[in-house]
Amino acid sequence: MDIKDITPDQIVFWEWGFVHLNLTIVVTWAVMALMVVGAWLITRRLTADLPLTRWENLLEILVHGMQKEIHEVSRQSPRPYLPFVGTLFLFILVSNILNVVPGYVAPTASLSTTAALAICVFVAVPGYGIRSSGLKEYLMQYVKPTVIMLPFNVMGELSRTLALAVRLFGNMMSGSKIVAILLALTPILFPVVMNALGLLTGVIQAYIFAILAMVYIASGTRARQERERKQAESAEEKGEQG
């Protein structure tokens, strides 16, 4: 990527009418193909015997780690959330880690990709909320504690989506930009160091994106949790009285 390009959207390979084939799309499909084919190759011959193969072990560690994190953040069963949050985490992680490959630009360094991911979260929050506590109870959350808070709650929902998109974009874009600038200044050793630092930020950003998505989804399902807690408390009080 050149210094002048801030996003890989600006590198267009092929154009026909309003259809553009730019670097972001190519790289996104490459990452998706890599993940799907890789997962298929690893799970093709799954057996229950020991010893585990190396790659199977890797996937188990990943899935188990994600389940544990989701459980610790949401205090709920990770089962319904794992497919969505796990996909977000793995996609961002793989596309950020591949940044060390020469000629590759992370698709997350483009605002269109991160905006799409953030919109997925924006849609998923009411989806999970309505599924767990029903439409009426979910919408009632917006007027808590009073009706005056309604515009602020709606604004908060929108602005955190924007923040989610711009945070990932800014971090990844700044990483590749700094490497591009340093290549022009000190060509040999220093860009390698910054690239290693970029790997660290890439992994942390993938983690943060997934954790924030999970926190937002968990706060959307809060209504049911509160109801269950109140029921448990009233049951306890009855038990004490009786």
């Binding site: 002048k4 390009d5 801030i6 994190e69 610790e72 953040v73 923040a163 711009v166 945070r167 974009f169 800014g170 971090n171 874009m173 700044s174 930009k177 942390i204 950003q205 983690y207 943060i208 954790i211 924030l212 926190v215």
Partner: protein, 92 residues
């Protein structure tokens, strides 16, 4: 030519000011957050996992203000709409 030099000057100055001033607040905030987290870990080493996780999420939240400033300064330098407008007018 007057417009180009004026806009170039204003862009460079404001890009530097944007990232310079915009980094102060988040830097102070992150420093305070990390200091608090370190002293909490020193007091309760058993809670290190949950403190670290909350710290990372909080740092990401604080950092996003600095990232906004950075994105704005990048736009001013590399994708300045006023600059493009003036260049297009001067060219044709």
């Amino acid at each position: 030519m007057e417009g180009i030099s004026l806009i170039g000057m204003a862009s460079v100055l404001s890009a530097g000011l944007t990232i310079g001033i915009g980094a102060i607040g988040p830097a102070i905030g992150e420093g305070r957050a990390v200091a608090q987290a370190l002293s909490s870990i020193a007091q309760q080493p058993d809670e290190m996992n949950s403190i670290t996780r909350t710290l990372f999420v909080g740092l990401a939240m604080i950092e996003s203000t600095a990232i906004y400033a950075f994105v704005v300064s990048m736009i001013i330098i590399f994708a300045n709409p006023f600059w493009d407008y003036v260049v297009a007018n001067a060219g044709g």
